[in-house]
């Protein structure tokens, strides 16, 4: 029986069978026999999360533009489906043609968050393939991986053949060309990997040796031969207007997390918050022209039929004339009963008006991310929001009828004192006070959420220690006790252990690959899902490898320490990061790239707003 029939028989007994049927609007249909390369885009989480990922959609359609390639998709099956598949002897399959993944040429994993690492291994396991790159011979799929997590690829080094560093739109096509030469000749896998290493943006971990000092700190990272680059430089798309963007985008049949059209209006962020990795790795800022955005928006509505379009970027207010653009989209969207949403908008009176006009159907919720409770700490992290701004905007918002205010903060930032923790309480209290003074009768909802600071590679805080679990607990309780005294305030906090593991994995080195494998063997998967995450299993896996996880999370590093991700060159220099870190220690802020260039180093890419600076 073909896999498809076998799969359909399982679907009467599993949760959300719509996850496993493919068949979406604008799904690409090809004859697999007529292509040279079969590529499976693998997303290590459930369908509803994977299908909300814009990167997946861009690469899926880009690859399928090529006649010689068929790109299909595979997601992580939910536990119930995994069990059924195992019982029936069905390997992980693609949604386009229900082909088992071990029959593909290339498996391309998207690494969006560290907590999905165990799922990557689990997916390989579900394909029946050996986990280790070394054990996969020619004829078995080549495993590549891309996405923001590859900026520290080391924890997965044993399992992935090639990491794509940076924006994949161009690199991926070069890899495929090379792959075709490999497939249709007697080139060995080793030769293939060597040649891959010379494609800019490709990191082939097996071609580097890592040596350690006695204290466990890395001594050196060296390429195995002279032809292998000493550092791997990220790839970027220089010009968003000429780069590929699909307007006949695959549109799910079942409800997914972001169930709407996503249209990227610009890439990068010019603000330079010192904890933020996206702000570094997506540099420089590159805008897409308004005419292009407008044209894409129209085509997308026509081709997908969605009732909502969201304009995405890291900081929407920084798009020049965002008002004008949003209103122009609104003109045709309104007529078609399509809503617009504008996430990551900095809030002030103009943007409030815009929000009211544009996001007509939303429950009016205002979201603020001051990140820290006091001006001092906000200066330390270079978050350019003043208390007065928050208060004046909140007042305006209340006057305009908003009744839900959401506030996001981080606990455990470098140099944080209890005063800063209590500052969060003060902000919440003052906001409640403002509401009361305005004399409104209706109920107001103020939600305070805190996450814990996770030091991330390639940021000015990459050397910092993360708070200990005890400290996290103490600060959370301190805040909680105080917030209890404020009316209408709800407080939620992020899981301590989840933040801990994220810190360990994001700054991990090669030795963690064994730990991850051990964790999978102990049953870890879907770590990002509260109901499955079990830190004790991870602890066991660390013990099994004789590794103290605190070494990765709770330890402050010296500026001159060799870091596992030093092999990756984001364009932003280490000197710049260090300078920023030192400025943080003095609570001195840095201006944004719009005001003046701070010389971070990325200008060497000659793209976006850095040109001419």
């Amino acid at each position: 029986m073909v896999v498809k029939d076998k799969v359909f028989k399982l679907l009467y007994d599993v949760e959300k069978p719509g996850r496993y049927i493919g068949n979406e609007i604008n799904m690409i249909k090809k004859d697999p026999k007529k292509v040279d390369v079969r590529f499976a885009f693998c997303f290590p989480d459930v369908y509803e999360i994977g299908m909300s990922n814009l990167g997946l959609k861009i690469l899926y359609h880009l690859l399928n533009e090529r006649e010689d390639v068929y790109c299909e998709r595979a997601f992580m099956p939910w536990i119930d489906m995994q069990k059924r598949m195992k019982k029936e002897g069905i390997k992980l399959f693609s949604l386009e043609t229900f082909t088992e993944l071990d029959r593909f040429d290339i498996l391309g994993f998207s690494l969006s968050y560290e907590m999905s690492y165990t799922n990557v291994l689990k997916m390989l396991e579900l394909c029946g393939l050996p986990l280790e790159s070394q054990k996969r011979e020619k004829g078995m799929p080549i495993v590549i991986a891309g996405g923001p997590c590859t900026y520290n690829p080391e924890p997965l080094w044993e399992f992935v053949d090639v990491f794509v560093i940076g924006e994949g739109e161009e690199v991926i096509l070069e890899i495929i060309d090379l792959f075709k030469r490999y497939k249709f000749s007697n080139m060995t896998k080793k030769e293939f990997l060597f040649e891959c290493a010379s494609i800019e943006g490709c990191y082939v971990p097996s071609l580097y040796n890592v040596e350690y000092n006695k204290d466990g700190i890395i001594k050196s990272i060296t390429p195995v031969s002279e032809n292998v680059p000493k550092k791997v430089r990220k790839r970027i798309v220089k010009d968003l207007d000429t780069s590929y963007f699909p307007t006949k985008m695959i549109t799910p049949l079942i409800e997914v997390v972001h169930d709407r059209i996503t249209l990227e209006i610009f890439r990068g962020c010019a603000r330079g918050c010192r904890f933020c990795q996206a702000g570094v790795i997506y540099r420089p800022v590159r805008f897409r022209k308004a005419e292009k955005i407008l044209q894409y928006a129209k085509e997308l509505v026509e081709n997908c039929g969605c009732n909502e379009i969201t304009l995405v970027s890291l900081s929407t207010s920084d798009y020049p004339d965002i008002d004008k653009l949003a209103r122009e989209i609104l003109k045709f969207a309104e007529e078609k009963k399509v809503n617009i949403s504008l996430p990551s908008l900095r809030l002030d009176s103009t943007s409030l008006d815009l929000l009211k006009e544009v996001e007509k159907v939303r429950k009016p919720t205002l979201t603020f991310a001051p990140e820290a409770g006091t001006q001092r700490l906000r200066d330390i992290i270079n978050k350019n929001i003043k208390d007065e701004d928050i208060y004046s905007t909140v007042k305006l918002a209340f006057e305009r009828g908003f009744q839900n205010i959401k506030l996001y903060f981080m606990l455990g930032l470098p140099l944080e004192e209890d005063k800063d923790v209590l500052g969060i309480y003060t902000i919440a209290k003052n906001i409640r006070e403002i509401y009361k003074e305005l004399g409104f009768k209706k109920k107001v909802r103020i939600t305070v959420s805190t996450s814990f600071f996770v030091p991330k590679p390639h940021t000015p805080f990459q050397w910092e220690a993360q708070d200990s679990i005890e400290n996290m607990q103490r600060k959370m309780k301190l805040l909680k006790e105080n917030l209890k005294r404020v009316k209408d305030v709800e407080y939620s906090w992020h899981d301590f252990y989840l933040s801990k593991l994220e810190a360990v994995l994001s700054r991990g080195d090669r030795r963690l690959s064994r730990v991850i494998k051990g964790a999978v063997a102990l049953g870890c998967q879907f770590d990002d899902w509260g109901e499955f995450f079990d830190f004790s299993k991870w602890e066991k896996a660390f013990v099994g490898e004789n590794i103290d996880w605190k070494f990765y999370s709770d330890r402050k590093r010296d500026f001159d320490e060799v870091l596992p991700w030093d092999i990756i060159d984001t364009g932003v220099t280490k000197e710049f990061l260090k300078k920023e870190c030192l400025l943080a220690y003095e609570a001195k802020t840095t201006s944004s790239c719009f005001e003046r260039c701070m010389g971070c180093g990325v200008a060497s890419f000659r793209g976006g707003i850095c040109v001419g600076k």
């Binding site: 028989k9 007994d13 496993y20 068949n23 609007i25 079942i254 081709n303 039929g305 009732n307």
Partner: protein, 211 residues
């Protein structure tokens, strides 16, 4: 403004049968938008078109003919059926459209369930049915008990190769009816039989037209 209520007839087979009821509504809304057909939207905070399915379609149910009604702010040509069939995902097929001047109610319907199961299934099933069984359902703490034969006009159980086909003719009384899946579940529980559903299909639905 002009608003016409149209009645669309369509069929649903695998794989589209695994789309939930809510997702079906969303899917059709999107397709209407893609085909540039102006629907009438509800007023208020969260406007949405009123796409009303005459019968709910549980996840997994195939059907030869289903109906939804929708109000349009324009007149529709019959060619709309072809346009729909060009954009519908596999498994869904538009059959016909008519202007809905009357109202319709379901009078009775025919189902077929195909299950993969051991030899003796039909024998036990007959035995079970002879006992004039009932279906118990709990919803939000409320238990409803329906006697199967109050709704069941006829049934038949026969083996076809590896699968067993069970046909049901079900009566709708005051808008209430009994689901074949529930009958099967009740039976399987009582007899502690494991079986695997291969297909559940609504083969025919009869309607009464009322004015």
């Amino acid at each position: 403004m002009l608003a016409n209520r149209y009645r669309f007839y369509f069929s649903r087979d695998l794989p589209a049968a695994f789309i939930s009821h809510l997702d079906m509504t969303r899917l059709f809304e999107r397709l209407f938008r893609r085909l540039n057909i102006k629907l009438k939207f509800t007023q208020g905070f969260n406007p949405h078109p009123k796409i009303v399915f005459i019968l709910p379609m549980p996840v997994g149910l195939c059907s030869k003919e289903e109906i939804f009604e929708v109000e349009c702010e324009q007149e529709l040509e019959n060619s709309i059926i072809d346009s729909f069939n060009k954009v519908l995902p596999e498994g869904l097929k538009m059959l016909k459209v008519e202007l809905a001047t009357d109202k319709i109610q379901v009078s009775d319907m025919y189902y077929q369930c195909f299950v993969e199961v051991e030899e003796e299934f039909c024998k036990y099933f007959e035995e079970f049915m002879k006992k004039n069984p009932a279906v118990k359902k709990e919803k939000e703490g409320k238990v409803t008990i329906k006697k199967i034969f109050d709704f069941l006009l006829n049934y038949e159980c026969e083996r076809e190769d590896k699968t067993v086909k069970i046909s049901f003719h079900i009566n709708v009384l005051n808008g209430s009816y009994i689901k074949p899946e529930d009958i099967l579940r009740e039976f399987l529980q009582e007899y502690n039989i494991e079986c695997r559903i291969v297909k559940v299909e609504r083969v025919k639905v009869n309607y009464k037209r009322v004015i």
